[in-house]
Point group: C2
């Protein structure tokens, strides 16, 4: 679309909602009108966009009149209830929740991987899980070169993935620790400051969490690779806003470090940050606020025949959410 | 040895040294005389043991006269230089550094796994790497039941593994963040507060760190299993004193969750902490100060034929260092 668009943001006051505004500003996204929507609790708040204040309104079924693109980031329940209303009103929905990701009618898109899939949408396009999207930024170029069969991965996920309240909970727990005051837990079931929680999302019968299986389930759809397998442990760590993932990947074809470096260096949206002897490797603190993901710690895997180990970090709120959503909107 | 012993601690003022004193107190270790040794810088400090203050003396070649057991925890260089003097003086050395771990003349021992190896010592017994010891507490019972072939693992390592100065560095960085003051880095090359560092120990030519290869190299020796392979990513996280490891393990024989739970529940020094739906799983905060390691997040691995995924946490200063060393001394 070359014309200016009427954009709606559902969940405008959340951590991702705020980032959507900043990303549209940075990328000069063509906005003619902006409709900010949230729960009744947040209605009346004002948010700045391109120097002007915009009032947040309560999300309702009739909120989408005239909207061209509706960016949803308010949880799966809200998306399931309100996305159909947005589509009925003529909007294209880019949904950041997990509500439609496995719906075969809904393209699930990382623009650098399967941007062409956007063309098949019927009103809704799904934005992938943050850990999956960040991992695929490095795995996809490697897959094209060597043919991935399976991965073993562990995540180091920032509290931003849980939302603005979780960022505040970590900040408050740390402050209470320093002041010697009692720690308050409201968002996470256990203390997150100075701890790691081997649970992200709820548990399935298999013992994996939903979050852990997203890597395999969403990875298969995004890479169009039905045989892809992924065994993942997702872990919340006391980091504010960028995720990291340690990956051992097995491939069909022999892997060389030279070829791996070549395809990763050429990949859009990815920076090879890999000079370990100089202590240069991706770290979440360096990726916070950055559009590009970073990959490093490249090495031939010592427990796989055709295997590569690597470490990838990326801003959870950007490539893991808002940036990817805006990139999808740009493809429309 | 049933008689009371003259014990020397080399590196008495370090994080592990202090824990050695506490562990000997708790376990009523039979001490007749205590010699506390450290660098000249720490000489003159006084440390409490069983209600009495003991002065720390400067480590010298002639520090070991009359010593029965010398517990070394002052780094590989100190061990290489001074352990031979302790042995010459008639002491048995239990060495917590990596100096002798791969020496075929030196038993490398986790008492719950290969305690019998202690018998073959020639004056020095090596205490394993902390991450390896904690992982093996869960892997060994599974290996005996199913026959492990290889593992893929990622660690979440506390700053205690680096020493007392690193604990202080994390505390100071967090305090500076809360107060809005500039952060100081002295121990780690990068900020550790609110960050994760994908580097523990120095890098090898292969791209793995020395720490990462200890799992395979030390694991082979401790389990007497030359074919064991381990691809590991070791990561420092802003946690004070317990390590956690996410493991995907492949076995020769079919794995069942029932059998896995049975052998893990029967394993000494290990607690099965695994009721994920009730949000019960091992966490470093719960393991800090505990002798037992904890294992949980048990699940059949979705990317391996005979595979099990699990998550193990343990106190780095206890099972990962001081407790294991005292258990070795108890075997003597």
């Amino acid at each position: 679309m070359s014309r200016n668009l009427h954009i709606a943001i559902v969940g405008a006051t959340g951590a991702v909602g705020i980032e959507l505004l900043r990303v549209m500003e940075r990328r000069s996204f063509p906005v003619s009108k902006l409709t900010l929507l949230a729960s009744a609790r947040s209605a009346g708040k004002k948010l700045e966009f391109r120097g002007e204040m915009h009032e947040v309104r309560e999300l309702r079924e009739d909120s989408f009149a005239g909207v061209d693109v509706a960016l949803f980031s308010a949880g799966g329940g809200i998306s399931k209830t309100f996305a159909p209303h947005a589509v009925s009103a003529g909007a294209v929905v880019v949904d950041n929740s997990s509500a439609f990701r496995m719906d075969p009618q809904v393209p699930l898109v990382v623009p650098e991987v399967n941007g062409a899939d956007v063309a098949g949408h019927r009103g809704i396009i799904a934005n992938p899980n943050c850990t999956t999207a960040i991992t695929l930024m490095a795995l996809w170029p490697l897959h094209r070169e060597f043919g991935v069969t399976r991965i073993f991965a562990s995540s180091y996920q920032a509290v931003s993935g849980t939302g603005a309240q979780a960022i505040e909970e970590l900040r408050k727990q740390v402050e209470a620790t320093v002041k010697g005051e009692p720690l308050v837990r409201e968002v996470y079931p256990h203390q997150i400051a100075f701890n790691v929680l081997p649970q992200v999302d709820s548990f399935l019968e298999t013992g994996y969490t939903k979050e852990e299986m997203k890597m395999q389930n969403e990875g298969r759809r995004i890479m169009h690779h039905e045989g892809f397998r992924a065994s993942v442990t997702c872990v919340r760590v006391p980091v504010y806003r960028a995720h990291s993932i340690a990956v051992s990947a097995e491939f069909e074809r022999p892997v060389s470090l030279e070829a791996a470096r070549r395809v990763l260096s050429a990949a859009p949206g990815l920076r090879v940050t890999d000079d370990p002897v100089a202590k240069v490797y991706p770290m979440p603190l360096d990726c916070a606020g950055e559009d590009d993901c970073r990959v490093g710690r490249l090495r031939l895997d010592c427990a796989l025949e055709n295997g590569l180990s690597f470490w990838v970090s990326g801003d959870q709120l950007l490539k893991g959410a808002a940036l990817n959503a805006i990139q999808i909107a740009e493809l429309l």
